[in-house]
Symmetry: D2
Subunit: 350 residues, 4 copies
Amino acid sequence: MTGSIPETMRAVIKAERGPGLQLVEWPVPEIGPGEVLVKVRAASICGTDLHIYNWDEWAQSRLKPPFVVGHEITGVIARIADNVTSVKVGDFVSLESHIVCNECYYCRTGREYICENTQIIGVDRDGGFADYIAVPAQNAWPNDPRLPLRVAVLEENFGNAVHTAMAQDVSAKYVLVTGCGPVGIMAIAVAKAAGARRVFATDISDYRLKMAAEAGADLTINVMKTDVINAVLDATCGEGVDVVLEMSGAPSAINQGFALLKYGGEVAMLGLTPGPFTFDLNTHIVFKGAIVRGIVGRRLWDTWYQMRGLIESGAVDLTHLVTHEFDLEEFDEAYKVFMSGESGKIMFHF
Amino acid sequence: MTGSIPETMRAVIKAERGPGLQLVEWPVPEIGPGEVLVKVRAASICGTDLHIYNWDEWAQSRLKPPFVVGHEITGVIARIADNVTSVKVGDFVSLESHIVCNECYYCRTGREYICENTQIIGVDRDGGFADYIAVPAQNAWPNDPRLPLRVAVLEENFGNAVHTAMAQDVSAKYVLVTGCGPVGIMAIAVAKAAGARRVFATDISDYRLKMAAEAGADLTINVMKTDVINAVLDATCGEGVDVVLEMSGAPSAINQGFALLKYGGEVAMLGLTPGPFTFDLNTHIVFKGAIVRGIVGRRLWDTWYQMRGLIESGAVDLTHLVTHEFDLEEFDEAYKVFMSGESGKIMFHF
Amino acid sequence: MTGSIPETMRAVIKAERGPGLQLVEWPVPEIGPGEVLVKVRAASICGTDLHIYNWDEWAQSRLKPPFVVGHEITGVIARIADNVTSVKVGDFVSLESHIVCNECYYCRTGREYICENTQIIGVDRDGGFADYIAVPAQNAWPNDPRLPLRVAVLEENFGNAVHTAMAQDVSAKYVLVTGCGPVGIMAIAVAKAAGARRVFATDISDYRLKMAAEAGADLTINVMKTDVINAVLDATCGEGVDVVLEMSGAPSAINQGFALLKYGGEVAMLGLTPGPFTFDLNTHIVFKGAIVRGIVGRRLWDTWYQMRGLIESGAVDLTHLVTHEFDLEEFDEAYKVFMSGESGKIMFHF
Amino acid sequence: MTGSIPETMRAVIKAERGPGLQLVEWPVPEIGPGEVLVKVRAASICGTDLHIYNWDEWAQSRLKPPFVVGHEITGVIARIADNVTSVKVGDFVSLESHIVCNECYYCRTGREYICENTQIIGVDRDGGFADYIAVPAQNAWPNDPRLPLRVAVLEENFGNAVHTAMAQDVSAKYVLVTGCGPVGIMAIAVAKAAGARRVFATDISDYRLKMAAEAGADLTINVMKTDVINAVLDATCGEGVDVVLEMSGAPSAINQGFALLKYGGEVAMLGLTPGPFTFDLNTHIVFKGAIVRGIVGRRLWDTWYQMRGLIESGAVDLTHLVTHEFDLEEFDEAYKVFMSGESGKIMFHF
């Protein structure tokens, strides 16, 4: 199969320091020791991609153009380095976007998701909005060949939802999901699959709340129109919720989540706030005897095994989450739809 | 409502040391401090009741006739002692069968299920195959008034299943349930509700395996007809299972369960073996790095809250588990059906 | 022994809405059902007692004078209600200050420390800066008769330290204790007893840091004089700490604790801040993958059993923590010393 | 330093299928990709080495002579393969004896100790009773250069003790250690370091029980002379123990341990029994609500970090555990002392 790999390829790149992206002809990457080359079959857009597109403060401080963008990727192994045994040419894989060092304290204690040397594809090194991408072999997760592309492409992002929802036991419990972007919607599906008593979902977009309901939310609340505190207290006989999955990063939603949390309740925080804000540790955490967990990335590889179980069993159905598909050439249009807020996941097919 | 309580009632009792039971006229019990009187609305038969009926070795060593039998009970509060505030007359309740002391080390550390002074209704004191039963107020668990009697009557027994299945995380995991009596069947339903990847069920009765399949088992195996080791290894690509829920008490099933357990897997043991047997600790536990938990009763009251969540949300549906109903007068007939092995739960209505 | 109980007694009370306390002659309390009367042998002063003395905002909103103050109490059972079996007249006991309902969701799931109906002695009902106090029998914890009074009197407060330090595993880990009031000092001793790798302690008082060192702190840092971030990073080869026990309630200390926390580290928060403040959830919790737990009171009764084990084994030595003793008549002087900040625990003897 | 490495070395090998060992001149091993060559500075003898020496049933079924024996090894890095970054030439290291694949399900979920492709040095490939040994770089754990050789050489074995003792919380608890070989003795020291309430130790050798007492056991019991059940019940006011650390593999000791276990207690099993035996699951596990964990090897690398913390802080002192030292040439004499049962650890110096 090696013979058929060209020397150059299409790639969407951040060409220089500033807003926007460019589609260019770019060298097919070489693979280093222990790496594999993946022929990309599908890719999807994440919120981080938008920060990169818009060249915001975070992007300016972290990125070093030029590089290929994109980190939600699925494809087929096209080439492997010597001694790679975990996958073989032709395998259908999804990519873990965090490249970890395997040597730091965190990697050596089963917590690679907080590896102190993490590199992210499409951010710190070349990503996969391109025909090919090179990654370490361990970042290529083998899929069942029958898995639909539109599910396989979501696994990296789905992993955030699984990591968050599974960070505490949700079975038979009241769960509140604050923020119904794609990760929030997938977290709703996971909580339902794990036997949550009821799942409540909040957002400011009716479009997203409709998707939340389709994913299984028992009650969806538009916080612009409805008093979320009263709504959830009404729905729980005044009890409040056992678990909050925080996906919004909005200080108002965070405060609502903690206000609704039962004593001894648990909060998993994935959303990033715009910055520090005034927070009441006494009321929200100390007096409540609350347990709060920060969530980053995916547990490597526990989360991926959990994903496999949830998808294979049919407990979670991701087939309808991609709402728009584009050719790579249409990337500007794709980002425009993404920015509208009126979409689920947006996928590039190849 | 007090005025309407008669002085005597119907009761099925173990009258003297020996096999069999009798239906007699019996005094309606007085309630002591902190107790409530429950007008029984439904009751169901458990395996323990059969030991009592047959007057086996265990029964001979523990029981002190005469006493009213029966410990799976639902009904309505008819009278309460002074200062009882947790329930009121008219409440629809199911009964926790274990009366605990609230003062021993185990009760004082949130582990009332292993209270060293446990008394069981229908075993150590008067039970509820009768028109009325007296129990401590805390043993009366208030139900939603709309809960069907045929579900409410099962809660005590369902609690064993919930305690066993929830003793470890089963989400996204392969689960093997060995033994498909009613508790095994309910444990299958709980494991599926909690998002198990696949649930495998074994038994020697096709009748019960059919019920197991209806409860959600992905693969049912009659160990008299099929090689269970091969069947489960085939179904798991040679991996084996992550969790075993042991409900049979059969040494052969226990050995099969451990043989199929993955390294690092978890086993919850509820079934009681006929006695000690030759067991390979090295292979089954030490080399495997297995975690084994003994399960008794229900966590008080964590398990009851979990039950409420699972039933209320519809995650577990128990409405079809009662396969036979009888009047209390037909108790001998009811026990006969129970002994046939061709039944789900058997209920007395009042 | 009943015959010797007088009708009135000495008691330090908050007589009316406003600063200060009064020593008065007061009726010896009656005991209700399930209660015991305790002849007080020693009592000690807590930070909460100072809020009450000073009549601050919290005190104004919560307290309903007149009532007897004081909630850290040890003594001897002088009288018991009918049916009390857990203790008997003559038993030497320390008092759990939180009176819980045993009926709410939290009490019924082994989490009485967050009981939604908690009443605190010396705050919500009569306390024990008096010759006698009445409490529910379950609040009287029996001590070994040989336990020194100056240890027994500290148990309630020691329980806060044990609850906080034991809320996560500290064995073989770097632990930072921010705030070296008595609870912080005792938490240092617990962390050392549990095998912490090194314990670092911060405060603004050299007096307290000296006590911290005596309790076992490996490094004490006066944050007014030393850059705590550099000091702890130096002492840990740049790693930071695995666990923070937050005892100060000072926003600056909280920020320092989180800044020094390793990725994936754990924080137990007992200290109360003066109010909401600007907090960086992203940096401190989300990106770090931190786990944060709010701590209230003592686990009932797990913490008391842990205390018994730690004291009895000699793993923790509390005998030197009381630095000043007073007669009850000298209460104003005692509070004055307490306010000076130059003391350990201050005890009243009887 | 490379220049000084000779082509051959001294090595103690299992030369052929049968009892005994031989000291021979043997090629210094080549290192493969990712490996390091270690100049051995000290080695110690483990029970497994005796099985190999005696050529028992287990040895016959597993071993493939000729190979160099020995798996408890410390030394200095003499050479590293290209791209090795975790250690450098001159580093003082102790060796993890289990070489794991990093690719199986267990390795990929932080449980390398049950890697399904584990190879053990000195068993499945060349070991370290020799001047040099080659291992993967990740198996070389860097020590503080000041760590005494007689401590460094014990780390592999100490890791079994730490893994077992830390598999459950022992702080403030009664702990029973059954079997006082070196691992049992070290487990006693760990349990004390972690704040156990009291540690009880049983064995059949007074020599070993004396070492157990020196390691911190509060009560040592020679089961040949004393009724262990009565002795421990007496010492615990009839309560029994919270935790059993099973190090003996003796069915009688296992039964005693379970008999003494409290309801809800925890058992960590490291010892291997001579084979299956009659075991009472009902009484020992189910009715007790016990939790039993099989223990294999060391958690990679959590256990090594814990060891570092315990040794560095002085919480555990291993300096007196080596009771005999030999030159490699005296290996037959060393094994003879080992077989006598009258020794602690036996070390070869180089």
